[in-house]
């Protein structure tokens, strides 16, 4: 019994105890975490206490909720009360948040059992976890390769069966890209569907929390639990997709567009392109209508993103000033203390993005860089709107290649940024998108197929994802 849906059903019916489920997963963590480093912090004792509370509810005849006894790993940029929350940064080392993120509250209220905080690229800036201040996470499928990022620890935790479910955050692909690299399902929901209260901010107009799971239906289970309006997040929306669980696989008559700018371009590995084409054929065989579609402004997404996200980050990360929490390095006055603290506390990539963002927002350059990127964002939204007049969903690779080796892209920051080329447009548009594992490359590493949908199109997106999952991906 492996899936989250099965575990929850067994715990709710009393067939299994939540404690035995937690113990089994903690034992798996104990056996492989030393080599994988998916976690910054494993909360074994708290997990067992939460599991016991679930079992007590079952014993009293109460329903512990849809995640009854299901272990869930949490990205370490989600605030957990009294539990270290670091963003994999020295600047937050040792900080104990005084409150829980809304998603953490919802997971535990639904009977989920939090097993630990997963590693990430520092402040979610990166595509490999190599930017973590506490060392990288290794890909459980091949320890010489990166798990992707920034939510690499959350993807690896599911791939290594440390937990059937985990939560990550996706600003430019940080859920979908590691899901693809680790051979699991990863979902970036519509902007505003999941409350971000307690998610430590990177780029606020792009960040969105979403699930990792081994199956599409498990991801639906977790998204159902965490979505919904939250008065603590003024960017959370009232209309949310609900009841995605078991919501069908029928794709007959659906119009599916294969995005040429994300599929037929230089840099996309031919094996990856072939897998996406096989997925398209599988959908066609199930009755969908598949055509190629051009979304022209997508080619500018990367440049727009790498101005907008750093600009927002430079503002959001101003809060790490050595005053209210985290690291302080002393100085003779406040300016010196601020500057010394930030230089000592931030790693190279975070400094690079703060510098880039500050420059893009500075007097004389604001209009040419930041405002221009915001105009490109409008073009991308318009192009997607036109595409969705003709298609129900769009299809593309999740990433240009399978998981790369450690060190392959650390020398040239821009080569690392190119890992996000297929995923960024959805964040700029605020649309949902998800990655589904579909076959292996000749390096035996998983390939991910991305399904994109219009805002609040989660239901049709999950249906297509299930149809792709059912087709299996074997060449």
């Amino acid at each position: 019994m492996r899936s989250a849906v099965e575990i929850a059903a067994a715990v709710r019916s009393g067939e299994r105890t939540a404690r035995s489920v937690a113990e089994e997963h903690l034992a798996t963590i104990a056996s492989r975490e030393g080599e994988i480093h998916a976690f910054n912090h494993v909360t074994a004792d708290a997990a067992l206490a939460q599991a016991d509370a679930v079992d007590a509810k079952v014993a009293r005849g109460e329903d512990p909720g849809p995640l009854a006894g299901v272990p869930v790993a949490l990205k370490d940029n989600l605030c957990t009360r009294g539990v270290p929350t670091t963003c994999s940064s020295r600047i937050l080392d040792g900080w104990l948040p005084p409150y829980n993120a809304t998603v953490v509250e919802r997971v535990t209220a639904a009977g989920g059992v939090a097993v630990g905080k997963t590693n990430l690229d520092e402040f979610a800036m990166g595509s490999s976890t190599e930017n973590s201040a506490f060392g990288p996470t290794l890909n459980p499928l091949d320890l010489s390769r990166v798990p992707g990022g920034s939510s690499g620890g959350s993807a690896a935790a599911v791939a290594a069966r440390f937990a059937p479910l985990s939560l990550g955050s996706d600003t430019g692909g940080s859920i979908r890209q590691p899901a693809s690299f680790c051979g699991v399902v990863g979902v970036k929901p519509t902007y505003g569907v999941v409350s971000r209260y307690g998610l430590i901010a990177f780029a606020s107009s792009l960040d969105q929390i979403g699930p990792f799971a081994a199956t599409v239906n498990d991801a639906a289970l977790l998204l159902d639990v965490i979505s919904g309006h939250d008065r603590m997040d003024s960017t959370s929306i009232a209309a949310s997709p609900t009841a995605l669980l078991n919501d069908g696989t029928d794709v007959a008559g659906l119009r599916v567009g294969l995005v040429t700018e994300l599929t037929d371009v230089e840099g996309i590995d031919p094996e990856v392109r072939a897998a996406v084409e096989r997925a398209a054929s599988a959908l066609e065989a199930q009755g969908a209508i598949v055509e190629r579609i051009s979304v022209p402004s997508c080619i500018y997404g990367l440049s727009a993103y790498y101005l907008i996200a750093p600009a927002e980050a430079s503002s959001n990360l101003a809060r790490y000033d050595g005053v209210r929490y985290g690291l302080r390095v002393d100085g003779d006055d406040v300016y010196e203390m601020n500057s010394a603290t930030r230089d000592a506390g931030f790693g190279a990539e975070v400094k690079r993005r703060i510098m880039l963002g500050t420059y893009a927002l500075s007097a004389g350059f604001y209009d040419a860089y930041y405002a221009q990127a915001q105009r490109v964002r409008t073009l991308i939204i318009r192009d997607f709107a036109a595409a969705y007049e003709r298609f129900d969903v769009l299809l593309s690779p999740t990433t240009p290649t399978t998981a790369f080796k450690f060190g392959a892209k650390t020398e040239d920051p821009f080569s690392m940024y190119l890992s996000d080329i297929c995923t960024i447009a959805s964040n700029l548009a605020g649309h949902p998108a998800m990655s589904i594992p579909f076959g292996l490359g000749s390096d035996a590493m998983p390939i991910g197929v991305q399904v994109l949908a219009p805002a609040l199109g989660e239901s049709v997106m999950f249906r297509v994802a299930r149809a792709i999952e059912a087709a299996g991906g074997v060449a």
């Binding site: 790498y306 101005l307 040419a368 409008t378």
Partner: protein
């Protein structure tokens, strides 16, 4: 409106030092040189959009058609002051303590 066009972007050491001051980062001389080189390269890639003629295209700051979110002004629980101050590097008499802000005479 001045466009950057396709001209070669070049970020100098003094540009980096100025931006580092704005961003409150006390960079080492090595970091200054490294960032000058890397920011030049990264912003060089952005010329594909800085050279686009987008006059008349409105900017998008965030993707939701939502503005001015208000709620009822009701009293609710807030974070415990002592718990919050316990996380601060330095606190005194219920407040955050910092080094001097203005020069002393």
């Amino acid at each position: 409106m001045a466009k950057q066009s396709n001209e070669q972007v070049s970020i100098t050491r003094s540009d980096v030092e100025h931006v580092a001051m704005l961003a409150r980062l006390a960079l080492t001389p090595d970091e200054v040189g490294e960032f000058a080189e890397q920011l030049t390269a990264i912003l060089g890639h952005a010329t594909d959009i800085s050279s686009l003629d987008l006059d008349g295209v409105p900017t998008t700051a965030h993707p939701l058609p939502v503005t001015n979110v208000l709620r009822e002004d009701v009293i609710g629980p807030s974070l415990d002051r002592d718990e919050v101050l316990a996380a601060a590097p330095s606190a005194e008499e219920g407040r955050f303590r910092v080094p001097r802000i203005m020069g002393e005479a």
